[in-house]
Amino acid sequence: MPLDPASAAPLLPTAYPVQDYDPLMKGMVIGGIGILHVFLASFAIGGGFLLWWFEWLGQTGREPLARRFIDSVFRALIFVSFIVGALTGVGMWLTAIQISSPTIGLMVDVFHWVWATEWLFFWLEVVAGYAFFRYGDRLDGRTRLRLLTIYSIAGFGSLFWINGILSWQLTPGEWVETGSVWAGFFNPTFWPSLLFRTVVCFTLAALGGTIVLNLVGGFTREERERLLHRISPFFLPMLAMPFLGAWYLAAMPEDSRDWILGGSMVINMFFNIAVGASALIGGYGVIALWRQRNFMNGATATLLAALAVGATGAGEFIREGVRKPYTVRETLFSTAVTPAQVATLRETGILATDPYPLRDPEAYPTDQLREGRLVYRNLCSICHTVHGAMALNALMGEWSIEQKRLMVAKLQWTGGYMPPFAGSAGELESLVQYIAWEHAKRPKEWRESRDPEVIEEIERMLEEATTLPSPAAQKAAAGEESR
C-alpha cells in the first residue's frame, strides 16, 4: 500500500533530545562527513570502471602495463574506499540521526526497501572486490573481466539507489500526491542528478588513478606518461557537465534555481566555486592530458584532487542549501515539523510536547528566558547557533525588539529559505527575549515580558504571516487582503 504523505507525519522534533554543537552548526557536522563520504564513494564507483577499462586494454593487448596499474589502484581502492568510504557511509546514517531524526526516520519509512536493495549491491561490491583483491592474480582473463564488470555495476548500483532517495528530498515529484515510492524515486531531478554524479565519479577515478600512479614505485617516467594517457579519457565526460548542470538546474523548483543563480549570495558563491573548480579540472584533464598528452605529476594531481574536494563540497552545500526551508520538499520543514503541524503548534506551542528539560536551568534568570532557550533548541538549533556559525546573535542581535518579533513572526517572509514559525505567540516572545538577552551578554537580571498587548500583536503578525511557506504565504496573504 503506498504511503499517504498526509498521514506520514513523522514524530515531532521534540520527541527526540537535541544536542548542542555550538559553535559548530549542525549542517557543518553532517556536511563534513558527507563530503568525505561522497568523495571517497565517487572515487570507488568511478574506480571500478577505470579498472574494468584497464583490464580490457590489457586483455586486448592494447596496454601491456595495464595489469600492474590495476594491482596498484585496486589496493588503494581497498585501503581507502572499502574502509573509510564504507564506514563514513554508515557514519552518514548515524550523523543524520543525531542531526534530524524525524527527517531520516521519514526517509527510512518511505525508502527502506530501496535501501535494502542498495544493501544487496554493497554485498556484491564487497564480494566481487575482495574476490578480485585476493585471487585476481590467479584467475583467468575472462573471470577477471567478469569480476570487474560485477564490481563496477554493483558500485554504480549503489549510486543509482541512493541518488533516488537524495534527489527525492529536493524534488519529491508526484510522491507528494500519490505516495508512490517509485514516483518519489524517479523524481524530476533523478536523471540529471544521476548522470551528473556519474561524471563526477569518472573524474575522481581519473584523479585518484593519477595520484596512485605517481605514488607507487616500479614505473618509469615513460610508462607513467603512457598510462596517464590511458587514464585521460575518463576526463572526457566532463565535457557534458555544463549541459547536465543546466538540465539539473532546469529540473529544480524555481525558487531553488533562483537562489543558485544569484538569489542567495552564499549559494551562488558556492555554485561559482563548483563551476570554477570543475572547469579547471576538466580543462586540465581534457586539454593537457587527453589532447596534448602532457604529463601530470603527483603534486599536480593532488592539487586537482583538492580542487575536486572543493567542488564536491560546494556541490553538496548547494544540494543541501537549495532544499531550504525543507529537508523533504513540501513535506517536512528544516525544523522537522510538517506543514500540517505548523498550524497546530501555533495553537498548542512547541514546548507542550517537549519532555526534555534544560541541562542548565540555573543559567537563565527568568522562566521566560528558559522557555526562549527551549524554543531556540527545538526550532532554531537545527540550522543556527547562538554565538558560533550562522549565529542568531550576529544575525538578529542588533535588531530592535519589535523588529525581532516581526521578523520571527513573518519568518518565511524574512527569507524564503526560512520555514514558518512553528510555535505559539508566547513562545515567540520568549525566543525574542532570549536572543536579546544573549546579545546583552547574559545579564543576571532580565525583565519578563508577558504583556498581553504584545502577545496579541504577535498573534496578529503570525496570522498575517500564515502557516504556509514562502511564496505561498505571500500569495495567500495577498488574497486575504483583496477579499
Partner: protein, 389 residues
C-alpha cells in the same frame, strides 16, 4: 487535529507476554521483526568471527607468531589474513539490521543514539582505526608493502604487530560496548530524561559489561567452528598436522566460550524485562532452551574433536550448525527482551508507514545471490583446493 507526538497505536500494554505482544503488533511489523532477527543473526556470524579472530590474533601476535622466523602457525596466519575481509563482511551485514531496527524501533533507537552522542559516534573512528590495525597485522608478506623498504621493515616488526593486534582487539571491543550501551539505553525510556540532563556516566554500567562478556564469550564457539571449517578446506595450505595441532586450542576456546556465555546468558535473560522475566515466557524459554541445546551439542562436538585431535567433517559441521542455532537463539532472546521492555511505552514497536519497493528488492535479492554464487564458484574452479581460503 491530533498531533502525532508519539507512536502509541501499536504499543501493547505493559507486563504482557511475548505471544500477547506479538499478537498485538500489525503483521507488517512482525515481518520486519523477523527480518531484523534474521539479518542480525547473519551479521553476528561475521561479527563473531571478527571478535574471536581478533582475540586469537592478538594472543598470537603477543606470542610472536607474526615475527620473522616464528614457528609455523597456520591457524594464526589464516585468521590474520581473513580478518579484514571478515570485518568488511560484518560491517556490510550490519547495515540491514541497522535499517530494520530503524523501521521497527525508530524512536527508542534514535533517542539512544542521540543521548549517547560522542560515545556512540566514536565507534566509527574506532572501527576505521581497528581495520587499518588489522591490515598492519596482515601486512607481512604483502608485495605492496615489501616494495617500500623502511615501511615494510617497520610493519614486519613483531612488537608493531602485537601493538596493532591488541589495539584492534580493544577497539573492536569498544565498538561492541557502544552497541550494547546503545541497546540497553534504548530499552529504558524512563531513564532518557535524566540521562539527557545528567549526561552519560564516565563508564558504562555493570549490565553493559556483563553483556559484553556474554557476547564476547558467545563469539568464541562461532569463531572456533568457522576457523576449523577453514582449516578443513585447506586454508593457508593447512595439512592434517596443522588441523591436529589446532583442534585442542580451538576446542578449549569453544568450550570456554559456550560455558561462559551460557552462564552469563542465564543472568542476562533471567532479568526482569518490562515486568516479565524472559525465561518465564514460552517463547523466551524455547529460545533459551535452543541456545543451551545448541551450545551443548557444539560442546560435545568439540570434546570429540579434542579427544581425537582431529577436525572431522561431521564434527566441524555439527559445531558450525550448533553455532548458527545459538546465534539465532541469542537474536530471538535479544528481540524478545526488547519487545517486553518496550511494550506499553511510547517507544514500542511501530508499523512502518510504507512498504513500496519490496518486489524490486526480491528481484535483486535473487540476482545478487546468483551473482555471488557465481563469484564463489568461479573463484573455486579457478584455484587449486589448497589455495581457496
Amino acid at each position: 487535529m491530533m498531533l502525532p507526538a508519539v507512536d502509541t497505536e501499536t504499543a501493547a500494554p505493559a507486563t504482557s507476554t511475548l505471544p500477547e505482544v506479538l499478537e498485538a503488533l500489525p503483521t507488517n511489523t512482525v515481518v520486519y521483526l523477523a527480518l531484523l532477527i534474521a539479518t542480525y543473526a547473519l551479521h553476528a556470524v561475521f561479527m563473531n568471527y571478527t571478535f574471536g579472530g581478533m582475540l586469537w590474533t592478538a594472543v598470537a601476535a603477543l606470542r610472536g607468531r607474526y615475527s620473522e622466523g616464528a614457528p609455523r602457525d597456520t591457524l594464526a596466519t589464516v585468521v590474520r589474513d581473513w580478518l579484514p575481509s571478515a570485518v568488511s563482511a560484518a560491517v556490510t551485514a550490519g547495515i540491514a539490521p541497522l535499517l530494520f531496527v530503524q523501521i521497527v524501533y525508530q524512536r527508542s533507537f534514535y533517542t539512544a543514539n542521540i543521548l549517547l552522542f560522542n560515545r556512540w559516534m566514536a565507534l566509527l573512528p574506532a572501527l576505521i582505526v581497528a581495520v587499518y590495525a588489522m591490515y598492519v597485522v596482515k601486512a607481512h608478506g604483502s608485495a605492496g608493502v615489501r616494495d617500500h623498504g623502511r615501511a615494510a621493515k617497520f610493519l614486519a616488526r613483531g612488537d608493531v604487530k602485537s601493538a596493532a593486534a591488541v589495539l584492534a582487539a580493544l577497539l573492536i571491543g569498544y565498538v561492541g560496548l557502544a552497541f550494547i550501551e546503545n541497546h540497553l539505553l534504548s530499552l529504558a525510556p524512563e531513564t532518557w530524561r535524566d540521562r539527557y540532563v545528567e549526561g552519560s556516566p564516565a563508564l558504562p554500567a555493570a549490565p553493559a559489561w556483563i553483556r559484553l562478556a556474554m557476547w564476547a564469550l558467545g563469539a568464541l564457539p562461532t569463531f572456533a567452528a568457522l576457523a576449523a571449517w577453514q582449516l578443513r578446506r585447506g586454508a593457508g595450505g593447512a595439512n592434517d598436522e596443522d588441523r591436529a595441532r589446532a583442534s585442542r586450542p580451538l576446542a578449549l576456546l569453544a568450550l570456554t566460550g559456550a560455558i561462559g556465555s551460557l552462564v552469563l546468558g542465564t543472568i542476562v535473560w533471567s532479568a526482569d524485562h518490562g515486568g516479565t522475566r524472559l525465561l518465564d515466557d514460552s517463547i523466551g524459554r524455547l529460545a533459551f532452551g535452543s541456545l543451551a541445546g545448541a551450545l551443548a551439542v557444539g560442546g560435545a562436538a568439540w570434546i570429540t574433536m579434542a579427544l581425537h585431535r582431529r577436525l572431522s567433517a561431521i564434527m566441524v559441521a555439527l559445531a558450525v550448525s550448533a553455532s548458527l542455532v545459538a546465534i539465532l537463539a541469542h537474536a530471538v532472546l535479544r528481540e524478545g527482551a526488547r519487545l517486553l521492555a518496550l511494550a506499553g511505552t511510547p517507544a514500542a514497536a511501530r508499523e512502518p508507514s510504507g512498504l513500496g519497493g519490496l518486489a524490486v528488492f526480491l528481484v535483486f535479492l535473487v540476482i545478487s545471490a546468483g551473482a555471488i554464487a557465481w563469484i564463489v564458484r568461479a573463484v573455486a574452479r579457478a584455484l587449486p583446493t589448497t589455495h581457496r581460503a
